[in-house]
Amino acid sequence: MEDSIIQVENLGKCYIIGHEKRNPNATLTDKVLQKTRQAALKTKKLFLGGDLITGHDLEEFWALQEVNFSIQQGDSIGIIGRNGAGKSTLLKILSRITEPTTGRVRIRGRVASLLEVGTGFHPELSGRENIFLNGAILGMSRQEVKRKFDEIVDFSGVEKFLDTPVKRYSSGMYVRLAFAIAAHMEPDILIVDEVLAVGDAEFQKKCLGKMKDASQNQGRTILFVSHQMQAVSALTSTCLFLEKGKLAFSGNTNEAITRYLTYGISNSLQYNDELSLNKPKITRIEILTSEGGYTHVHGDPMEIIVDVSLPGGLHGGSLSLQLVNSADIPVVQFWITDSDRHILRSGGLHHFRCLIPKLRLFMGKYSLTAVLSENNTRNTLQKLDQVCSFEVSMIRTERDHPFHEGSSTYLDDFSWETEG
């Protein structure tokens, strides 16, 4: 769109990483020769002005690939993704800290980036001096800082210590001062990268409040990267979900968050794997729900079938299953160990059936994690993380008002006594 404040087309960033060749049978002569060759190559590269990347094999690593999106003025956009998805790289490119390898970015407005709190703070200088220093680094003119000085000090709450060297500040004071300065930048576009990870809950609330104010009352455009989904959904209405350098989803925040949380979780009731001749393995898992499909009715019995293939017997073998909810919290577990019952004591295929008479889980989406171990769980042989999933429905539980997901994790039996 022509009037977008940020427009990104086909953006890509490639890093070159080196791999050392590993040769466990190398002799000392081999190693010495190898080192000499490396030194000669490095000197040659030095004279030709090339990069000094250690390692023989060079591999291209695309931190970002084919990213396209556009942002309108006044938007509040979240950027989410796992570690290594490319979020920080994207921010670095938008902040002009590093150059893209491919693609093009068009920005119409002044950008201020907060990628780290307290960039440029010098420990020997006082709080007052650091306010001017940090302000200048962030791109504020000296006049601007002078004008907002009192506001900044007020927001940070370090007035009493303004003239002490910053190296004497507690980490909380440090972070509050740093954010106070950054919060008073008045850019068109504000980019914030996971800086809320530091600081206590009160500080985070204050920061979020300030950013919300900037977005809603002042009409600034905000790009916000965070791992805290509550903060992202409180502050933003649209999200970009990055996965392995590519834009996996762009749209409504709640949907993006759901996709992020359920990414990689199989949507299937079954798990299958080939058996191995020399490794203990779980070869099959199947969840038998009350309705026979993806939905399971709360309170109904459930069966979970697990097949394990062993090359030889295990000592103290055990199998454990966990049901994990959509917030990645394991809610209930089932286990069987050799000490209860002699299991997994010989090679071959072993068949298990877990019978749960009454599944008390509350409504929501759940996934199954299975762990196979030996030596009384001291040695984990295989862990299958969230490989099957299903959904619990409250259909046959009677109540005159609706159930809301998240209001509990499970329901237990209870009764009431009343008087009057």
């Binding site: 002009r96 800290i97 960039t119």
Partner: protein
């Protein structure tokens, strides 16, 4: 392009395109926009130095004074190198020391400037040229203090400078240019190939004996004079001596122009190299 006021205006004339290998016309405009950062970084270096110790402030006086004493003794009395005209040897040495110490301090500070400020390079945007440029300013402050000492020395020896002193700012500018050119080069090299931080002190040590600090250029035999002038500091130091001490310390013009030429070439290539390396700097520093 400066914007004031609280409301952001999406219609500002500020448009930026980021793409690989993008044109850098805006870079020089950016340098001007960020000039305040330049001042503040320079201020920071100076303020921090004096915050750490009482001696910090005195060091700016002690260092040049001490070196002058040592040089006067070693070159003047022991080696009995001649001075020029009737200029007292200590003054000859001191006048040569002024630009040399400015150059060597600048070189050391500049070559480490990028490495010491990695957070400015990898976490925040600014035209990176400001970083090595501002690191030179603290050495310039030292130079000014040393000049004050020189004035005291000249009063002590009852030595008055001639009309040539009017050219001193020109030579000061030259000193600046050579310090910046060399400093920028070593800064860039150091950021990429960390060995360089060990090479720089060695260069400074060697340079001290090659440059006419402890002696006057006049003792160099004529046939070597031109080659000798390839050392850019020769032109600067000779110029300093001529402007402060007068015609007594003759300036060898052909040699001088060679030095100036070397300085300008150095500046050109170092800026070019820096700009080329700057694009990738955040990735490898």
């Amino acid at each position: 392009m400066k914007k004031t006021g609280n409301q952001p205006s999406g219609e500002s004339d500020f448009e930026l395109i980021i793409e690989p290998g993008m044109s850098r016309k805006a870079y020089w405009k950016d340098l001007w926009r960020y000039r305040e950062l330049f001042y503040i970084l320079a201020w920071r270096d100076i303020a921090v130095r004096y915050k750490q110790t009482v001696v910090g402030a005195a060091w700016s006086i002690i260092r040049p004074l001490l070196t002058m004493v040592v040089f006067s003794v070693v070159f003047g009395m022991i080696a009995k190198l001649p001075s020029v005209g009737n200029v007292p040897y200590p003054i000859l040495v001191f006048v040569g020391l002024l630009p040399w110490q400015f150059f060597s301090n600048s070189l050391s500070e500049a070559s480490n400037s990028l490495i010491l400020n990695t957070n400015l390079i990898s976490k925040v945007y600014c035209p990176r040229l400001i970083i090595p440029a501002s690191s030179i300013i603290s050495s310039f402050a030292d130079l000014l203090i040393s000049m004050a000492i020189l004035v005291i020395l000249m009063i002590y020896y009852r030595f008055l400078p001639g009309w040539q002193i009017v050219f001193l700012p020109l030579f000061l500018l030259l000193a600046f240019l050579v310090s910046f050119g060399a400093g920028l080069y070593t800064a860039t090299l150091n950021a990429k190939y960390r060995d360089f931080r060990h090479i720089v002190p060695f260069i400074i040590q060697a340079g001290l004996y090659i440059s006419p600090v402890g002696f006057s250029s006049t003792i160099i035999p004529d046939k070597w004079r031109l080659l000798y002038s390839l050392n850019p500091m020769v032109g600067v130091i000779d110029g300093f001596r001529w402007s402060i001490l007068g015609d007594v310390s003759k300036i060898y013009l052909p040699g001088f122009f060679i030095s100036v030429g070397v300085i300008l070439l150095l500046l050109y290539f170092s800026v070019r190299y820096f700009r080329k390396m700057e694009k990738m700097m955040a990735d490898y520093i």
